[in-house]
């Protein structure tokens, strides 16, 4: 069955989301962007343009570029809103045959439904291209204050685009879905939506219908200002910069298209940067020139200055929010501010710290954040779409499936003790189970016939500092030089957290295993304690581990050197032999000490000396050569020799 997509059909921008591979995602459009301008135009060449392309020619083709059509959809021409918008919208608007609105693009008149339909067609086509399948159904969001006629018109727009609209969803409800706050029963929430051109505030009450056993979301009140938005902020900053430049240089740059363009970009960048930094520098070289030569524009802008510029807009939004929540019905919800359990921020402008702070101060609680505020409504629509898809297909939603198939993670690393008492991780912490991992180990001593498998849990690098989960011995390994036997150790954790550890000698095929039932039975406190200990001891543990590794390396090289001397036998010149033996003794003298540097130095000295054995062998081409160093090289990660063997 084809996918159902979620669409946020915005006044300024639109976005599409869909559940894919168990993950909700925003679909990029053909231009590679996550949002699409809600603009349709008839170009001067007679071509219909939608989205970014329509936007790029809007300045020079204002009468044939239809934007903000959401302000008109489903309304009567005589509506006060329509009349107000008619005054400033650059394109022609007239009354339709049935009293609705019509807009002119080229020589033709279109209903707002048709214009929205063109936008939806593009969103649909881009989603199809991205998903590689046909899309026929969608969930579309609308503002909570939309009446039946506006909702019906939005639905019609979907039909025009070839989309069956399965649900018209309120934007604030979608935002609540995206943040998952709809799961709590009987709580009151506020959605503060500061978009590019409109400000909406909605008060919702989450309920639970005992009869149908379904969550209900009731819109208690809506408010806002349809002509207040982030665009006002940009304008304010630009005006400020033009003014500052005039003060600095006495030149008015507001008429120079290049200067204005560069200023616009700089203003936008400054606004974004001041969301994270407290100060930014606007730096526009060669912005203009006069008789004395080129002029540049350099000015520092602080966050405080930005807030100063737009404070009136923020204050206004806060005032409107307060009214919507506290005024008695029908104007507001008639609630106390303290009754509001959750506050959700929507719209790109809510990234501004001063705005977040103002909302926080109003309600006395942190608003929900974390999801990209430009995408939160589309994501909520995607969740609703997934719920409907699942219902139609008779399956559980991806979200619910996740609840049933709640896959655990291993809270702590599971390791095996290897030579020198080192804990070698097999399954690192936070690995999702079920999972399995195998690794081949070898012996640490010649003719070792058994190995001990010591299963550990914890983050410390030394075995002794971790918790022992199990120990068992695999014996019957055929006697051979160290490093030759291959023992495959497998850790396997099933979905219930039961750990199975087995060790198999590849030569003899002998297997031993142990089952640890309680590998994840630690309490939260225990896990935290162990993690904390690991962090506290990180430095000393690292030193300890480095020392052990140096010792293991010393052990290996001593073994290798002794073997090489023995293998070379009488062919080895006496001076080389003495040299190597001296260095061996020296290394043996320091290798069990605590001085890592001394051990490393002795290793270095010995390894340089050993090379002479090889050189000596090559200098006598007629002599049979000794066993090369590669053979029998011990594996430093071999399990520690079984003491009892």
């Amino acid at each position: 069955m084809p996918k159902i997509i979620g669409i946020d059909l915005g006044t300024t921008n639109s976005a599409v989301s869909v559940m894919k591979n168990g993950e909700l995602q925003i679909l990029e459009n053909a231009e590679g962007n996550r949002t699409t301008p809600s603009i349709v135009a008839l170009s001067k060449g007679g071509e219909r343009l939608v989205g970014l392309l329509a936007k790029r020619q809007s300045v020079t083709n204002p009468t044939n570029t239809i934007f903000s059509v959401k302000r008109l959809i489903g309304r009567k021409f005589t509506d006060a809103e329509v009349q107000r918008d008619k005054a400033w919208l650059p394109y022609e608007i007239r009354a339709g045959a049935t009293g609705g609105v019509e807009v002119k693009m080229g020589d033709k008149w279109f209903s707002p439904e048709e214009i929205s339909g063109f936008i939806l067609s593009k969103l649909k086509a881009d989603a199809e291209a991205k998903l590689g399948e046909k899309i026929t159904e969608a969930v579309i969001t609308v503002p909570a204050y939309f009446d039946d006629s506006q909702r019906q018109a939005t639905k019609n727009a979907g039909e025009i685009a070839g989309l069956k609209v399965d649900r018209i969803l309120n934007e604030p409800t979608a935002a609540a879905f995206a943040y998952g706050v709809n799961k709590e029963k009987n709580q009151k929430i506020v959605v503060y939506d500061f978009g590019g051109g409109t400000f909406d505030v909605s008060v919702l009450e989450m309920g639970f219908d005992a009869e149908s056993k379904e969550q209900t979301v009731e819109v208690r009140a809506t408010g806002g200002d349809t002509h207040l938005g982030g665009d006002d902020f940009d304008k304010k900053i630009q005006e400020y910069l033009v003014g500052e430049y005039k003060k600095q240089e006495g030149i008015d740059i507001s008429k120079d298209p290049l200067a204005v363009q560069r200023l616009k970009e700089a203003a936008e960048r400054a606004k974004h940067e001041l969301s994270t930094a407290v100060e930014t520098e606007i730096n526009i070289p060669y912005i203009s020139s006069d008789a004395n030569g080129p002029k540049h524009f350099q000015i520092k802008m602080t966050r405080a200055k930005l807030v100063d510029l737009v404070q009136e807009y923020i204050d206004r939004s806060i005032q409107l929010t307060k009214e919507t929540v506290t005024s008695p019905a029908p104007k507001g919800a008639g609630y106390q501010l303290s009754e509001i359990a959750e506050v959700i921020l929507v719209g790109g402008q809510t990234r501004m710290p001063a705005m977040q702070e103002a909302v926080k101060n109003l309600f006395g609680k942190e608003p929900h954040q974390g999801i990209n505020p430009d995408e939160v409504v589309a994501l909520g629509a995607g969740i609703q779409a997934e719920i409907l898809s699942a219902k139609a297909e008779g399956r559980k939603t991806e979200g619910e499936v996740k609840d049933i198939l709640l896959l655990d993670v291993t809270p702590l690393s599971l390791s095996i003790e290897t030579y020198g008492g080192v804990a070698t991780p097999m399954i690192p912490k936070n690995t999702t189970v079920p999972t399995a991992k195998s690794q081949v180990f070898s012996t640490a001593a010649d003719n070792q016939t058994s190995v001990e498998v010591h299963v550990l849990q914890g983050e410390r690098p030394m075995a002794g500092d971790n918790k022992t989960l199990a120990k068992f011995i695999l014996d019957g390994i055929p006697p051979s030089p160290r490093g030759i036997p291959q023992v495959e150790v497998t850790f396997d954790i099933d979905a219930n957290g039961i750990l199975n550890v087995s060790a198999k000698d590849k030569a003899s095929g002998k297997v031993q295993s142990v089952k640890v039932e309680a590998s994840s039975n630690l309490s939260k406190e225990e896990i935290e304690k162990l993690k904390k200990e690991a962090a506290e001891h990180a430095v000393e543990d690292e030193k300890k581990k480095a020392l052990i590794e140096a010792r293991n390396q010393a052990e290996s090289i001593v073994y290798l050197a002794e073997k090489s001397v023995k293998d070379a036998g009488d062919t080895l010149p006496a001076d080389v032999k003495t040299g190597v033996e001296e260095k061996i003794t020296a290394l043996k003298g320091v290798k069990d000490g605590e001085d890592e540097a001394a051990i490393k130095a002795a290793i270095e000295a010995l390894s340089t000396e050993i090379q002479k054995i090889g050189q000596a062998a090559y200098n006598k081409p007629n002599e049979p050569q000794g066993d090369s160093a590669g053979n029998g090289q011990p594996d430093t990660t071999g399990p520690k020799p079984d003491q009892s063997a």
Partner: protein
């Protein structure tokens, strides 16, 4: 064994219908589990494919933000050059440095969108800032205010242009 237990506990023996029902139930459950397993396997395979594609995109477009910032620096560089040129001949080395930066960006997939006055305005690659009365045919580019750039196939920044007014409509 089961029969004996049933007799001992005086439970009625399950009828064929009961057993059939049980089998059906289990079969349904098996199908559901199998479907879930297949779905998750497919999800994983698709996820891997998508990750691969994303990695490719990261390799191609990972430096997009950096390059975008550099473009405006390059624009400023050009403005500076033009101003210097007006004052007299410019040291050749400066041009060579400019070319060096260009080459580095070119290697990363950046290409200038080639537009000249007289070309028809195309919103796919350009943004119209204003229009003026000019000799060019209506809708043609009169002046390029800022050059546009492509990073591989994606338009990183449209060219900002001034276009010729449509005399007819006027």
């Amino acid at each position: 064994m089961a029969d004996e237990e049933n007799k001992e506990n005086n439970l009625p023996e399950p009828t064929v219908a009961d057993l059939k029902e049980q089998i059906e139930e289990m079969a349904a459950q098996r199908d559901e589990y199998l479907a879930g397993w297949q779905r998750s396997k497919a999800d994983f395979i698709n996820y891997k494919k998508e990750e691969m594609k994303k990695l490719e995109d990261v390799a191609r477009y990972g430096s997009e933000d950096l390059i975008k910032d550099l473009i405006s620096v390059m624009d400023n560089f050009d403005l500076a050059l033009r101003t210097l040129e007006k004052a007299g001949p410019v040291e050749k080395g400066i041009y060579l440095i400019r070319t060096q930066i260009d080459d580095i960006l070119k290697k990363r997939g950046l290409a200038k969108i080639d537009l000249k006055p007289g070309d028809m305005f195309d919103p796919a690659v350009a943004e119209a800032l204003s229009e003026v009365d000019a000799e060019q045919p209506p809708g043609a580019i009169v002046q390029e205010i800022e050059p546009g750039y492509r990073l591989h196939e994606k338009v990183l920044r449209p060219a900002r242009v001034i276009i010729s007014k449509d005399k007819k409509i006027k």
